[in-house]
Symmetry: C2
Subunit: 139 residues, 2 copies
């Protein structure tokens, strides 16, 4: 076991005991009904949960970067997740679109690059060719 | 834009317009109250959302693999996520612990390796040294 676990600021554990048509939960947190994106049953899917995790992480990191640069917080984050492939060969594509209306495009791109490297969820995805981050002028 | 987006079976978009102390949501899906793991405010955090995404994905993939091998479904998935580091240098550690009580340890390890490569969320994390998958005899 990586010794860094011992110095963690926080550790949580998530489970799904029931399957894609079931429930994901955290012992000390919420229970989320889950369902495949390819049927009409109500429920969140792994794509949505991952997207919400990354959106929250990037938004929060951008807020910190704006604050460090004495800027008011204007960054907006939209995370798209696609489900592609076929049986036994599925993949996800993840694209984070970021708009920072309070600064010019060069400054926005610089802040986005910094957020991409600092947000822990973004770090975890950064080894994948299926993960992209795009700075946009408008959504 | 990667041309594979055009052939997607499903695309979703997640947002957080409010920050870590706020709400993450999916337009056609749920709204989740979010909060930092380091305070006492109620709310899910990016660690938990990522953990639930991976747990659901691995559980579902293992179920498919068991079915393909004409085995009844016994795989259990616990995903631990740790928040480590210090200001401006944070990271997450992710460890998926998998137990397959219905088969022996060698068979379990083989199925876990296959699930690790097939689950789309696992694929996205696989480039990170902070991501580990462990086959366990008991939790």
């Amino acid at each position: 076991m990586d010794s860094r676990w011992k110095d963690a600021l926080y550790v949580t554990e998530a489970r799904n005991d029931t399957g894609l048509e079931g429930y994901a939960y955290v012992a000390e947190g919420i229970v989320v009904k889950t369902s495949s994106p390819l049927n009409n049953q109500p429920g969140s899917n792994p794509e949505q949960l991952l997207g919400m995790s990354l959106a929250t992480c990037l938004k929060s990191t951008l807020e910190a970067i704006e604050s460090e640069n004495k800027l008011s917080h204007s960054a907006q984050v939209h995370v798209e997740v696609a489900f592609i492939g076929e049986r036994a060969h599925y993949e996800f594509l993840v694209n984070a679109k970021i708009r920072i209306p309070g600064v010019n495009m060069d400054a926005a791109k610089q802040m986005v690059a910094e957020a991409e490297g600092r947000c822990p969820v973004s770090q975890l995805l950064s080894g994948s060719e299926n993960y992209t981050v795009t700075t946009v002028e408008k959504f």
